[in-house]
Amino acid sequence: MTTNPNPTKPVPTSHRIIKAPIIDGKPQLTESQLEALGRELDAIRERELADLGEIDAAYIRRLVRIQRGLEVGGRASLFLSFVPPFWFLGAAALGVAKILDNMEIGHNVMHGQYDWMQDPALHSANFEWDTASPAEQWKHSHNYLHHTFTNIIGKDRDIGYGVLRMDESTKWHPVWLGNPIYALLLATFFEYGVALHDLEVENIRTGDKSIEEAKDLGRVIARKSGSQALKDYVLFPLLAFPIFPLVLAGNFTANIIRNLWAFMIIFCGHFPDGVATFTEEEVANETRGGWYLRQMLGSANLTGGKLFHIMSGNLSHQIEHHLFPDIPARRYQHIAPEVREICERYGLEYNTGPLRKQFGTVIRKIFRLALPDRRSGRARAREVSTAAA
């Protein structure tokens, strides 16, 4: 990591637009361009880190208070759900509470974005979230595997979560005709998908992971999922005894709302059209600048208002998040124009769009990849040019 001796002073940059040759949809920057790119992004990172303080602490605590308020309100409302409007209100409030807990609070706290506060309740080492996946396990598969090996085929297990065909590199087989159905099931029960994802079932099959290791992990996952189910599907319904079916249904609905929303936002992060995947050969000997480049080419943003960004855990700024995963997410919005300007200067696509457009291309891809590959125009063109040379 290079260090900028004066983090508040921006690193001087040339404003010449770099026209990098594009191969396979990926701009090919030279080594010195990559190094310059790395320096510029490091400078932003160091400036933001040096600026962390009370305002970030106040923000996350306020959000925690709002989240807890919504959760208490939602559960209380469900207890009054013998009056029908309260059922809808309660399920919605609890769903939103779970979304905030998992995304803007949980995901970001567990990235270590607030570790500098040294508050045990908001430290990545201690935080546990309101979902089936145990924090410890998720931190390994997400913070380490996904964020280090982002979009590298065969290494980033978030590509398709092991149950969907989300890239042509997964060979087609008739089983993939069910791709849209699997996607719908994964979206509906996303919290369990994420929890089981950590078991790395496919690695047990290949022998890369021992069955004992998986069994231990399975027990940890079962304990966490069990305590979640106990609370939502047994204890709270029992407390509301005469109307327990209503409370049970409300809690279930809230969990499904959270699952669908999280699935939608997360799949818009890396699967819309125009997002690149990489082979292990492509990233061999990757420099820090190269890592930054891969994060930018491998992520996509969502446009929207302030509330939308909070509800998405600021994963609507997926590009900024992948560049700076440990900087408090509330800062991405104001870093974004700088990142976009850097992208333009280096001739990189800054992939962004409204939710309906981005998610539309994700759904199209889920359906397209259910079928055998048609040779794309690009691949045909490449074959032609190779033949000509």
Binding site: M1, T3, R45, E46, L49, L52, G53, E54, I55, D56, A57, A58, V64, R65, R68, V72, G112, D115, W116, M117, Q118, D119, A121, H123, A125, E128, W129, D130, Y144, T148, K224, S227, Q228, L230, K231, L235, F236, L239, D326
Partner: protein, 364 residues
């Protein structure tokens, strides 16, 4: 001031598995704390109930621990105290300065501001009744033995007075009849903490001899001659020494020179000084789990990790509290407390007092 904490019975009731299951995964305490920071089952909070400014630099804080089990301590022990300043919780060790066994189950710490002491300066300037702190269990082996010695010598310098003051106050409170010599070094009379109380104890208790020496006003430093003058026999008395390095080292020299090192207990009140050769402050430090490598600048691993934008858990920053240990996978580090170098692979080290010598890789 009045403190609203939950009664032990209520805390126990709320902490039962049924409520914990309802409050999962965040825990009951977390929900209660949203309403009031001291309504907690977690027992690591304390509320400041009284603030007394002792001198221009020193302030005494009275603490009401949420868990009054924490009020049980041995005279001489310290607390790790966490203070939130501008969004960041800073943890430092402070000796408990009050007598043990207080009926009101409160604790006192006395904080002396010093120029590069960020937390002590903040507390001196801003601590007010109502401030909520986190506190550890009382800890430390620098404690008064339960079999009270016939002649006890308490030697201290500067803010090192706090643990021995707790010992003295405890002995006075229990009407201990044995001989006690309380020898304290301050730079000036103005800097003497607990001046009035020490004078009173000296007058009221024939068995206690309080001697204060002001080193910037012509007072001598600790020497065998001074001990002889005060009729202290290192071979007969049990001694405790706490304060700056020079004072403690002088005490060690005197007691061990006469072959009585087992009759002396010491506590340094200063982060240990680092003595690193220039050529060792080189190489690269790899924070493997974070994928960050930085050039070794000769500071502690904790400081260098923080400079690289990492925020590992840390506490006292002087090698006491064991909040910060991390696994070193390769390389040599100098332990600033013991002055020893270790090249063992795969060992847990306290990063706050470990200075890398050349290349080091850390699982952080």
């Amino acid at each position: 001031m009045a403190v609203t904490t939950l009664s032990p019975r209520l805390r126990k009731a709320l902490g039962n598995p049924f409520f914990e299951a309802l409050a999962a995964p965040h825990g009951v305490s977390h929900w209660l704390e949203q309403v009031n920071l001291t309504w907690t089952i977690r027992s690591d909070r304390a509320i400041v109930t009284d603030v007394r400014h002792q001198t221009a630099d020193a302030v005494t804080l009275t603490l009401a621990p949420v868990d009054d089990g924490k009020a049980q301590f041995l005279p001489g022990q310290y607390l790790q105290v966490g203070v939130e300043i501008e969004g960041v919780t800073h943890t430092r060790c402070f000796s408990i300065s009050c007598a043990a066994g207080r009926a009101d189950r409160r604790l006192e710490i006395t904080v002396k501001r010093h120029d590069d002491g960020f937390v002590s300066s903040w507390l001196k300037a801003h601590a007010e009744p109502g401030l909520v702190l986190t506190i550890s269990d009382p800890a430390g082996d620098f404690t008064l033995p339960s079999a009270r010695p016939a002649h006890l010598v308490l030697v201290s310098g500067g803010s090192g007075i706090t643990p021995v003051m707790s010992m003295l106050r405890t002995l006075v409170a229990e009407e201990h009849a044995g001989r006690v010599t309380f020898l304290h070094f301050a730079r000036t009379a103005d800097e003497l903490i607990f001046a009035d109380e020490l004078a009173l104890i000296d007058v009221d208790h024939d068995n206690v001899n309080v001697v204060t020496v002001f080193t910037r006003e012509g007072g001598a430093h600790l020497s065998p001659a001074m001990l002889a003058e005060l009729d202290i026999d290192p071979a007969a008395a049990l001694a405790f020494a706490c304060g700056p390095r020079d004072l403690v080292d002088a005490a060690i020299e005197i007691w061990s020179g006469a072959g009585n090192e087992d009759r002396l207990f010491v506590e340094y009140f200063q982060p240990p000084a680092v003595d690193l050769d220039a050529d060792e402050a080189s190489g690269a430090i790899t924070f493997a789990a974070s994928g960050i490598t930085v050039e070794n600048d000769g500071r502690t691993l904790l400081e260098q990790a923080e400079a690289a934008g990492l925020a590992p858990a840390s506490g006292c920053r002087m090698g006491i509290c064991h909040t910060c240990p991390r696994r070193k996978t390769s390389g040599t580090v100098l332990d600033a407390v013991t002055g020893t170098r270790s090249a063992t692979a795969d060992e847990e080290i306290r990063i706050c007092v470990s200075v890398p010598c050349g290349d080091v890789e850390l699982d952080l």
